[in-house]
Symmetry: D2
Subunit: 501 residues, 4 copies
């Protein structure tokens, strides 16, 4: 097989998985219109295989010529990262903003366990995890698996670490049993993107662990249909799917960040990628975070492009595209989008190579700079766009009224903006502004791929703080014996009286 | 009659008015669940009359002892403004945030035409408008009218003034005909709060007019059931009304900011309060804006209180109420809310009195300071709240899953936060955070009661810019002959050498 | 005597006090031009006594007709607070921005110990502190004392409380000895405004204390000339005092926030206002903070007025006063200044009365809202002003070049802005913008009267957080048994189906 | 010669140039301590030549082996841009923040006229300007010229274009006469960095010109000693140069952004690089802006590194480096600095090549993103740093008091912070924070290399706005016939019902 058709993909999900949604149990995602629509985010990969324009971008080939999804190839050069980013840009362009593909988060988790396997095996001198991960990769390639990444535990009391929780021990996914064949896990993950629609979820730990937390230091792959797994799909506002006039984004593209409950689920050893080696937990976590923040932000480029485009259209349709104050705001929006793009591209183009294993990953600083910048400005961008678009964003009548002959002419006449712009265009743009402001996008801007607080923690961890301090000490003459490579052999600053004789 | 019962109020709306909503025509707002729910914002007045706790606050009495809604009384003292504000605080407390009452915007429009009538008649020396307005007030009191204010024209090309529009002449409501009995008006208003649910809409001009715009300088009262009037109700997301678990705010409280189309509508002279006296148009506009910005912000106090409360609950339920960084954010939120309250109260407590007529109105500067402050920070407040609340705001399952025995225990166990807090409470608070971020609230924060740009314009118009400049000139020794009362006779600043002998 | 002349004031400071400044010891502030200039901030009170225009504002009278500075009168009504604010507005107007008067901080400290004396005596049932404080007040009135307030200890390691400091025990002022006649104190205060120029410093604790910190719970009055007191005056940039062209503000008005070192200084009991009653320390602290934040902000009104005035002048002089984007920025500045004013006035006009003693003090919430608002926006305001003013703020030639005949005409010609504006005016305004951005003003904006962090702490302490939570619970249906007065008897929100039969 | 010694550089400036400073005329910059200190910014190049560590970085070589300053080489690859940036990073590291070197702005102007010469000659088909520019380059290389760039005209009324000014015609530098030998120019430039200390100023136009402005479309090189040139040096605060304790930055490093007045100055044709070809003026302007914004920001990296370092030191010295709220602020600062660095590096590493001439220049979008980001956050960064550092920044005593035996021990004892940190270090760091906040740095942050408004204008000019709009139209179904390359052949978004059969 190696690459599936869209039909094969959909069929592969009919495996008896248990999905609860709005009080009902479903075994097949095609049974409910909202669940069915969520599939579209994954279908794009399988649809693109069929399209000659995109084959080169999305496919790699085995030595025997068999094609497979290019994402399964571990990155070896900056170009590999850049190519994946181009694919993400393209997919979010096609899907009108946020997209994902069938392996969006999952590949980042696969990269994380791949990196970890190499580093752990190197360190322990035992070849164990590399073999498992690579065998799993082959399995995935062969079945062209749709993959989710499972990182976010439900966490309980946020102030307490995994082993210190009081109400029960399962707020973080943990190993409850271990046998010759594998392990059993219990726990629950929250907001796992696309989990309802994949063949495997790759679960990784979400934080550093202490020795007493070692049962929680676990990474593995699991099918959503495995015994003991329950999926609880998030509530979705009942917008009318397919009503692209009133809901240009939400009517098409629905996310499905579901809860995944594990009740003593058996995982065979070949799918276990970390088991109680608590010291390595943060390594998996940060490798995941790093890849995924870049993926998330590459994806977000599609959103910010829409944001700015919607504002430009509204300014024009309202007749204000030359108004100096409006232009000042538009310019800020363009800056915002272009800065996200510049940082996102730079993070992919300047990867870091792990010195011991040769593993290559996106620049951590740039990736986090990009993510923080995008997230920190999202709500302000929404404010600016809504400010430009006007109050109608909240009060616009339905497309059904626009297309009702009894009211069409009134709306055509009175909701017109600038001369020459069809009222229909203006209404569509207003509906777009409305959809862009949806709460899921807002919350995702902050929390997806790690919250603002997570990036802030990262900056203090990974930036060379000693360089900053050395610069300050150099400038004000503090000599405390510390030596920084950039400063210890630096030429003294030139002083006229010392130089000119 | 003088005060209606709730039933009488609802019956009074069954007058044949024509309401289009999502492609259908309704003549009775009780026919559709969404339209019916919109009534609740108005019902509160009529319900409160019945309640002995609130009679003193909401009722005034005629000399003959007949009670009437206190809002019909024109404000004569600061206490009158403060009392109305207390009523607004109370109503938004009861209704859980944004409220209105059956006369919310309408009273502000009535105040505007009252003020204008006194000023115009004073200026022209002809007693005309005062009589009409006072007669209309009596009519309203007698029927205990629900009232809307109609200010916002659809405007067309925002760069063009009323008479300069190119596509047609009706982008601003205008007088198309005038006879012995009255006038005929054509045009369309946008986002007229509660218009579907009132007995009268009081229409006022939304901007200053030039002589060539004089047909647009018109103010009048009109019934939504008048011949030639069409109401087009805004599209509403089909949330489940009455599902207070999943939609604690939206499931209860639905706004209805509709379009009001006038097609050659006849208005008898007794309901015309401005007709072509274009010089007076801005006077009506700013009197309306002033009262209504205060009303809007008084109402918003209920919203910001909820915002902050939701964040406090989420911090606590997540176990983070003592986390220093979270406390830093909570503190910012409290400051935000308390500053809104301080400014809003100060604006009511320090009214201005028009020197020629004795008309009393809220402090314009403080009112606009309050409105701008609240609006400018809304999106940032949402960001902070969502940051505190966490990603579940976007991915939380439905209440139907929580109350489904098959999944209840899982959710009970895994969505628990801090020990001792029922999961139900945490879920409710999360749903509240979600509802608070609704796009209507966001757009209303910016555009309701006038956009940020409108306030900015106002500051430059009404602040004493000469005082600012005089201060700067005084401080840096610029002597250009200008004289400001505060500076012209000021003592020179004391200089040691000049003073100490 | 009761009110001093300016000469008498200056003479009263020649008491042998020991002032170190830039490496030298001075006993008389008039000996050095910078020290001498610092006097001007205090001289204004004594100069105003002489001026018939201001007598009513600045003087109160004993029953025997003897006049005294009105500040010595404890506030009894809102009008008293408002009148003091008017005096502060006036003085900062005269002095071109930040001012103070000879009792600026000292009166706030006197109010603090007055409040504390009443509350402590009430609580303990022993009349002790009230007598002392009132006797001290009489002493101050009689000698028309210039007064400083001494609150800020040097603090050492900010993470450690007074008794936990490691390097020595004197990072907070403390009682080192106690005898029948009085106490001995050791320690050091930092940035005590005007301390070099006063007759008494009233020292109060700067934080809450635990029992183990009780030696640090001390309040007292002390003369800067007392044995064991050393004043270390802050470094001042050597601008040319009196060069009002190049330094319109700094050339006139110099602050002197000095260090006050106590080395076993004897304080007689009659000047001791708190001694080891550690439970009452925070009471003194917050009463001081409260009055002083209001004083500081009332004073800041003068600064923000200048800020905005300078920007208005620069916009005009550059020919940009009608540029829409510039106007947008100017409008923001006006909003900023007017909001500070609104909050500051409201805080004075709405005082709180202590229920047990009747003591009246400014509204704590409004005061802190005002302080935080002003401080939080200072740097942004500077950015906006500099943005408007242009690069010349950094590169403008000296007034000496402007008045040098060899270069005058060139500068006259080329530094001209808008037609009709003398180049001299433009240069003066640019110099003003430069002076407004001085680092002392910036740091004072944040740290004077308590840092941003101090206000943030205050909001969480004094706001009614339970009201916020009750609102949120009410809105989303959380019933946890808690009862808030505003919510426990509230009418249920009206629901159509329940009301309409 | 080809590379000068420091002495030769200083001697080369003794050419009779006329410098006015604080009312006096100087012909030699070494005559006044402030003027002399300004030299240091340029001396660094000449000092580095002597240092074997830096030769590879700063020198290039002629075919005959003769060395010359590498900046004279026009960039041909991304590596050339990156290397120049490394040199700038290094120089600003050595000089403790803002630096420049002797050719800082001048090289950017030389690049601008080089680019323009190629483009103009290509367009006109006449080889004229390339020859002149290259001959001038050879002249500069041979004499190892110190170079300034002269772009900013004084501008007069900002609302009026060059030819429309009312008071006189010289607000922009213009050609007043033209002969066989060359041209004569009159006008005045403002804030020309380092002009007092260079051998040539390369003057370029600062804006687009209309045909009627053609006399103002002029670019040329001129010696500051040329007849008719007057330099007016900016006023400098009289800090004590060499007092590195009290003024760690200002005591060393003084900028000299002077006015350059041209009174009918003769420029021989070989130094004229644009003369009345008004259509090409914006080309020179933007090529200059582009290179110079990158230089300026590369340089600023040194400043932001200091900013963050100073904050890190202060947090540590105050004992607050582990305080969560302080860490939150530090993290923001690190993010700020790292984002500036990421953008600045990306702009150099991803140059654009002019398609017709092969001319290579930094990415315009990234360069402007970087500049805007750095400038927009400068004042906020200062606020955060001052907030962390504490009030002592404004009130710290002089180093002279610290080193005065009479007060040393007191200051040593009482200004101590965290245990183990010498008080001297803490004082030095506080002085650094003070110096970092100097007004010149603040104004330069906004206005140097073009104001915020200039970047904003640029974003709307150079970003592909049509791509943004196309994205929005695609997403909401607006079909207006416009075609964008990225969208016109895009695959339709996959819809379940269409794909799955």
């Amino acid at each position: 097989m190696a690459v599936k058709t869209p039909n094969e993909y959909v069929e592969s999900l009919k495996d008896g998985r248990r999905i609860y949604f709005e009080g009902n149990l479903y075994h097949d995602v095609t049974e409910h219109p909202i669940l069915r629509r969520g599939l579209q985010r994954g279908l794009i990969d399988y649809a693109m295989y069929q399209d000659p324009r995109y084959k080169d971008l999305i496919l790699a080939y085995e030595d025997n010529g068999e094609p497979y999804h290019i994402s399964f190839k571990p990155p070896e050069t900056a170009d590999d990262l850049v190519q994946r980013q181009k694919l993400q840009f393209l997919q979010s362009r096609i899907q009108g903003g946020r997209s994902s593909g069938a392996k969006f988060v999952g590949i980042d988790a696969l990269h994380a366990v791949t990196a970890a396997s190499r580093m752990i095996d190197k360190k322990t001198g035992v070849s164990k995890y590399v073999e498992r991960v690579e065998a799993f990769r082959e399995e995935c390639k062969k079945m062209d698996a749709a993959l989710a990444g499972g990182m976010t535990d439900v966490k309980g009391d946020r102030k307490l670490r995994p082993a210190d929780q009081k109400q029960h021990n399962d707020f973080y996914v943990r190993v409850v049993d271990e046998s010759q064949d594998g392990i059993h896990v219990t726990g629950c993950l929250a907001h796992i993107s696309h989990a309802t629609y994949v063949n495997y979820i790759i679960v990784v730990p979400c934080r550093a662990m202490r020795e007493e937390d070692k049962d929680y230091a676990v990474a593995f792959a699991v099918s959503p249909a495995a015994e003991g797994v329950t999926l609880i799909h998030p509530q979705k506002d009942p917008v009318e799917w397919g009503d692209y006039f009133d809901y240009p984004l939400l009517g098409y593209n629905v996310s499905g960040d579901c809860m995944v409950v594990f009740d003593n689920v058996f995982i065979p050893w070949e799918h276990v990628f970390l088991c109680k080696e608590w010291q390595f937990a943060p390594l998996v976590t940060y490798q995941f975070a790093n890849f995924h923040r870049l993926s998330g932000l590459s994806n977000k480029v599609g959103m910010v492009t829409l944001d700015v485009g919607a504002a430009l259209l509204m300014a024009e349709y309202n007749g204000l595209e030359k108004d100096p104050v409006i232009r000042d705001k538009l310019s800020w929006l363009v800056w915002y989008a272009e800065t996200v793009k510049a940082l996102v591209k730079a993070a992919a183009a300047n990867p870091t190579t792990d010195p011991t294993t040769g593993w290559l990953y996106p620049d951590r600083i740039m990736t986090n700079c990009a993510k923080y910048f995008g997230a920190d400005n999202h709500h302000h961008a929404m404010k600016v766009i809504q400010d430009i678009a006007g109050g109608l964003v909240a009060t616009i009548p339905s497309g059904k009224d626009f297309y009702n002959p009894a009211t069409h002419d009134m709306l055509e006449k009175y909701l017109a903006g600038k001369e020459g712009v069809p009222t229909e265009f203006r209404m569509r743009a207003i509906k777009l502004v409305k959809d862009l402001a949806n709460i899921e996008a807002a919350v995702a801007a902050i929390h997806a791929e790690g919250s603002l607080a997570a990036q802030k923690m990262t900056f203090l961890q990974i930036a060379d703080l000693e360089e900053y301090k050395a610069a300050a000490k150099w400038a004000c003459g503090i000599k405390d014996g510390s030596e920084h490579p950039l400063y210890k052999d630096l030429m003294e600053r030139p002083v006229y009286e010392n130089i000119i004789k």
